[in-house]
């Protein structure tokens, strides 16, 4: 631990970054016309952007779209730059949305990406203004949105944003060639209606594998290699009165109608007539697979997509085209709307369209399907079966009902064999994660201070809200932890503690958190976990990493930034030193002057460090240089089987071993071979005065002559004392 003065701000660029390589993926981005792409959807979409002739790409990482940014960052020098395409990893989603401002005046196609709904929320100020001003060049936003198993954020729909800002929203049918086509069509749609377009992908779809036949990449007509000849000004694009009144009229009377015309003309939605009949299903493109599967399993379809029921597949879920809906509904007695997410925006609109058309068709949706949650195969099959038994009548009702009953019974019977309750297995910190020890320190510190109000943030650090730490009273958004405790400290009469990653700090915490707390003289302690990356989304670079996403060496300093704001109480601790962290936190909590105190818990993300270490080890090994490898161990006889160490750690490599000693109460602690010797076990054992069973063993391969000699001599002496 050291206190930093202004002059002690580390100026050197740390040896961080550039440990991951997406060279293989980048190679697929240059496939030419007629060549076949094999890979994951998110990479296919990235390729589609280049085929569509984008002039610029930006975004903020978040599952499942991080990969788009990762690959383009790696492909910058070899693919993007020669084509004249700009690329940046924006500082936040708001920055990414604002980047699309380039398409307002200029015929530049641009794409940005982020995780929805959270990223869309961050971006919404720029997005609303962009949608109002309208675009000249096609503007596309690729978002990842998910329900259920794949989701790690609040369950809300981007659809609502699309509705209020008049943004066309594509939810494509998950077939790779179709998704690539729709991505390219999105730019045409955007240019036709002068609105930015959103393409939404669920996580399983983003990581779906498949293939498609490529087209050539199109260099943008204007870009870094061919600058646009003039800067433009047009008051009509400024969001002030009276333009805004005109924008609103335009959206309703020109832009959305133009979008509908484009959707029809380019057949973006798909009508599968089936074998006719008076029942039909209207579905979001993204639910096509589960609907088809459910129909097959209910005996109403086959494996290559031939169904009895007519289907209207909405690849564009906003705006809907009333004519398409009307003519689908017109000839039907009953229609089911399959729409994932809450509220049921499509269903409401379909009902309204049908009612306006005077249709007598019975429309069902969230009355037979669940209101909330992920639409898995089982869920959709259940809903379809319920709906069909209800509306089909006669033989079909009986057939479907019987089929579903048989399927359910077989599954329920098998499920009833499940022998025992299974242990929950939520995600957690990785082996050796540098974020874990600060929570060990906080857990121990609360034995002295009583329970503290700890506000949590977004990032790997959110895992501390789970066992064994169970720590973090609120999570209000990325970089929001400090601000979210603003009214708590005074109310509890003691300083609050906010935890934030360096990613969160640069994203939003710097203004919403630090500047706000400093300006309003909050009595608060901010812990910044500086691990050097946006780790939760895959070790993307942040401003303090040392390099930007395109690899240029540039580093912004967290301390210098805070000092520039006038925050003077800043301490940096080695995150693996639990006792030093506890001592620093004690000082921070009891600092008499009040105001904002910042503790920077400093150690590099272990995943990134491991990649580099692995490379360095291979080099050292090849060169025959001495090489140290360390791991922790537990003396089984010393371990009491109390597992306090695990309640302070939760490290995957600190695990259990069945006891050999009949006097033990249960399994003893055991350090598995994947231990990276981060040091937490030893440090926590000392800080908490746990049992002394831990040891660290360090083996040196390729020892020097001196090292060998010392080892041999020590061995002799110790054998005399009875060590052998």
């Amino acid at each position: 631990m050291r206190q930093l003065s202004n002059s002690a701000v580390p100026a050197e660029v740390p040896a961080r970054g550039r440990e991951r390589s997406f060279a293989t993926e980048a190679g697929k981005l240059v496939l030419g016309a007629g060549e076949v792409f094999h890979g994951e959807t998110i990479l296919a979409i990235t390729k589609a952007l280049l085929q569509a002739g984008v002039a610029y790409v930006g975004g903020y990482p978040g599952a499942p779209v991080s990969h788009l940014i990762d690959v383009l960052a790696d492909a910058y020098e070899t693919v993007l730059k020669p084509m004249g395409v700009q690329f940046e990893q924006s500082a936040s989603e708001a920055g990414a949305a604002a980047l699309l401002g380039a398409s307002i005046h200029y015929p530049l196609r641009g794409a940005v990406t982020w995780k929805s709904i959270v990223g869309t929320n961050v971006a919404s100020d720029a997005l609303s203004n962009l949608a109002s001003a309208g675009v000249t060049g096609g503007a596309l936003i690729v978002v990842g949105e998910d329900y259920g198993e794949g989701a790690s954020v609040i369950q809300e729909r981007t659809h609502a944003t699309a509705l209020k800002s008049s943004l066309p929203l594509i939810d494509p049918r998950y077939e790779m060639a179709r998704m690539v086509d729709l991505t390219e069509e999105a730019f045409g749609l955007s240019e036709a209606c002068h609105l930015p377009v959103i393409l939404s992908l669920r996580i399983r779809a983003a990581h779906m594998t498949g293939s498609f036949v490529c087209r050539d990449n199109r260099p943008p007509p204007y870009g870094t290699r061919n600058p646009f000849p003039e800067a433009r000004y047009d008051y009509g694009r400024i969001v002030l009165p009276p333009s805004i009144y005109e924008h609103e009229r335009e959206k309703a009377q020109q832009r959305l109608p133009a979008a509908r015309r484009y959707i029809v003309a380019h057949r973006l939605n798909e009508h599968l007539p089936g074998t006719g009949g008076r029942l039909g299903v209207i579905l979001q493109g993204g639910t096509y697979g589960v609907v088809q599967r459910a129909l097959r399993r209910l005996g109403l379809g086959n494996a290559v997509g031939r169904t009895e029921l007519p289907l209207l597949v909405l690849n564009v879920i906003h705006p809907l085209v009333p004519d398409e809906i009307e003519s689908f509904v017109a000839a039907k007695d009953a229609v089911l709307v399959v729409e994932e997410g809450n509220p049921a925006l499509i269903e409401q609109e379909v009902r309204a369209i049908a009612q306006r058309a005077g249709s007598a068709c019975r429309i069902a949706g969230k009355d037979v399907l669940p209101v909330a949650g992920e639409y898995t195969g089982e869920v959709v099959r259940g809903g379809l079966a319920r709906w069909l038994t209800d509306v089909a009548g006669g033989d079909l009702s009986r057939r479907v009902g019987e089929r579903q009953r048989m399927l359910s019974e077989a599954v329920e019977q098998a499920r009833s064999m499940a022998g025992a309750a299974l242990p929950p297995r939520p995600p957690g910190f990785c082996t050796g994660c540098p974020e874990r020890p600060i929570f060990s320190a906080l857990k121990l510190l609360q034995n002295e201070t009583g329970r503290l109000h700890i506000s949590s943030d977004i990032g790997c650090n959110t895992f501390a809200t789970l066992p064994p730490f169970n720590m973090g009273s609120t999570v209000l958004g990325y970089g929001m932890s400090l601000a979210s405790a603003g009214a708590v400290g005074p109310a509890l009469g003691k300083p609050s503690v906010a935890v934030m990653g360096d990613g969160g700090f640069w994203h939003n915490g710097i203004t919403t958190g630090a500047a706000n707390a400093q300006w309003n003289r909050h009595d608060a302690v901010l812990i910044i976990l500086e691990n050097g990356y946006a780790s939760a989304t895959g070790q993307q670079h942040v401003p303090s990493t040392g390099r930007n996403a395109s690899g240029k060496p540039v580093r912004l300093s967290i301390e210098a930034t805070l000092r520039g704001m006038g925050v003077n109480w800043i301490r940096r601790v080695d995150s693996y030193d639990v006792q030093a962290s506890m001592q620093t936190l004690r000082e921070a909590l009891s600092a008499p002057a009040g105001g904002l105190r910042v503790v920077i818990s400093d150690q590099e993300c272990r995943l990134a460090r491991r990649r580099r270490d692995q490379r360095l080890r291979q080099e050292a090994e090849a060169a025959g240089r001495p090489l140290r490898r360390a791991r922790f161990g537990v003396d089984e006889e010393v371990c009491t089987g109390d597992h306090s160490c695990m309640r302070l750690s939760g490290c995957p490599s600190l695990t259990l071993r069945p006891p050999a000693d009949p006097l033990k109460d249960g399994p003893t602690a055991y350090v598995a071979a994947d231990c990276v010797a981060c040091g937490l076990c030893g440090s926590a054992a000392q800080a908490a005065k746990l049992c002394p069973s831990f040891y660290r063993a360090t083996c040196t391969s390729n020892p020097t002559f001196g090292q060998r000699l010392r080892q041999a001599l020590a061995g002799r002496v110790m054998n005399l004392m009875g060590a052998s």
Partner: protein, 482 residues
């Protein structure tokens, strides 16, 4: 099952086990063999070190009449193969309805314990036998495999997938996929071959804990053990305890163990201890308590002959490769005082500073560090003169007295009381608090046993429960007398 359907494969794993690579191999093998196929996964932070699945579908016709419609979700009752890298994750697949009569299950049987299992004081492990039995009953076919030292589990599992022949892919397609992916090709091919053999000739894989092992009775204590009145089945355990206490202190101390056990044995029979549960519990817990770990004991264990050799094996040190071993000790004030003869204790200045303990990092791989621990270990000869020793012995006797008293009134209360010693654990202040809490509880014991044994038993059980559920409470209020 309808033949006009894709073959559906669910891979279940714990984040970090290599399930993603396994999925890649399947996709690549299908591509090589020319079958339409699709895979998906939920990577990223939502699954890091947690339960995760990968899903794969293959259409078993190289030239389908039209593009097959694949889906991204397994559907209960429609999964042909569940391949799990961890047995409770196979269990999770069953719980979610993905294992039915038409399903082949291939599962590793080696556990990766979850945080929930690890943080319990004592044994919080899930019983794996019942889970595997359930899978056996529900599935059409089960292939289990244990650990393959030196092989990557996902490659072994891929081999077993190939061997199970659920997919219309030849072993060579998989081998080509491993080569095409280009990661650790030689090792993965070796693992693949192991798995392939295993699936073709599946043998039963037994997964039980290695049995605990009782030390033989030291000869010097044989006569005493022979004379002791004990239930026959417990003699090996008691012999083990005697060996432990002889190693811990001396023969006299071991003999004291037998003397302490005698009244419990005597009280147990009339109390109804036909199965010897009470005596077994006390015999085990008494030996553990009497060999409580203090600085001397830890030093003794850490200087055992052969320990360094064991650690060398553990880190895989080759001949001539130096290994440095560092111990992390932090004796507290009470433990340090225990090392100082009583007469000198008054002379020590300001021991209050030691309240927080004295962090020591000792290199037992160096002669000086090893010698220092040897000296500490030797000090066990003066252990009986330390005040802590006296406190521990008094607490032990109070506990044993409480057990015997309880046995005279209620057998189940006696059994519960025997478990109460769980509170005396850890080191330093935590241990001292636990000890004094027990003494407080036993203060009014005899009267409570007489007047309200049921109420008392409920309190005792709640206290044991609290010890297990809130183990860091040190001394929970539940341990205090009502």
């Amino acid at each position: 099952m309808n033949s006009d359907r894709p073959i559906c494969v669910l891979l279940a794993a714990v984040g970090g086990q290599g399930g993603g690579v396994l999925g890649d191999w399947l996709v690549e093998a299908a591509r090589i063999a020319g079958y339409p196929a699709q895979a998906t996964s939920i990577p990223g932070v939502a699954q890091r070190t947690g339960a995760t699945t990968y899903y794969f579908e293959l259409y078993p016709d190289r030239e389908p009449p039209a593009a097959p419609v694949f889906t991204l979700f397994p559907d209960p009752g429609d999964v042909d193969l569940v391949a799990a890298l961890e047995p409770t994750e196979a269990g999770r697949a069953l719980e979610r309805g993905f294992v039915t009569q038409g399903t082949t299950v291939i599962t590793a049987t080696d556990r990766i314990y979850s945080t929930a299992e690890k943080t319990v004081a004592g044994d919080g492990r899930t019983a794996i036998g019942a889970i595997l039995d359930g899978i056996q009953q529900a599935a059409g076919r089960v292939i289990r495999f244990g650990a393959w030292p030196g092989q990557s589990l996902n490659a072994v599992l891929l081999g077993a997938v190939a061997g199970s022949a659920v997919l219309p892919l030849a072993p060579d397609d998989f081998r080509a996929a491993i080569r095409a992916r280009g990661v650790a090709v030689r090792d993965n091919l070796a693992g693949f071959e192991q798995g392939l053999q295993l699936a073709r000739r599946p043998g039963p894989t037994v997964t039980t804990d290695p049995a605990t092992r009782c030390e033989p009775v030291p000869p010097i204590l044989e006569p005493a053990l022979a004379m002791a009145k004990l239930p026959e089945p417990l003699r090996p355990l008691v012999g083990h305890a005697l060996a432990r206490l002889l190693d811990y202190q001396d023969a006299a101390y071991a003999a004291r163990y037998l003397r302490r056990l005698a009244p419990v044995v005597e009280a147990a029979v009339p109390a109804g201890d036909a199965e010897h549960r009470l005596v077994a519990t006390v015999a085990r817990r008494l030996a553990a308590w009497m060999s409580y770990e203090d600085v001397m004991r830890v030093a003794q264990l850490k200087t055992r002959p052969g320990r360094l050799a064991r650690i060398r094996t553990e880190v895989g040190a080759g001949a001539g490769e130096p290994v440095e071993v560092v111990e992390f000790l932090k004796p507290g004030r009470e433990e340090l005082l225990a090392l100082v003869p009583r007469a000198l204790r008054g002379w020590l200045p300001g021991t209050g500073r030691l309240e927080a303990g004295m962090p020591l990092r000792i290199r037992t791989s160096s002669p000086s560090g090893y010698a220092a621990l040897k000296v500490l270990a030797w000090l066990r000869r003066v252990r009986p003169h330390s005040p802590v020793f006296a406190l521990e012995q008094a607490a032990i006797d109070a506990w044993l007295g409480a057990v015997v008293t309880a046995a005279g009134r209620s057998y189940s209360l006696a059994c519960a009381t025997a478990e109460l010693s769980v509170w005396v654990r850890g080191y330093g202040q935590v241990r001292a608090r636990g000890r004094s809490a027990l003494e407080t509880r036993f203060a009014d014991w005899a009267r409570r046993v007489e007047s309200d044994p049921e109420g008392l038993e409920a309190e005792v059980r709640a206290s044991i429960e609290a010890a297990r559920n809130d183990p860091d409470a040190g001394c929970s209020t539940a341990a205090q007398p009502a």
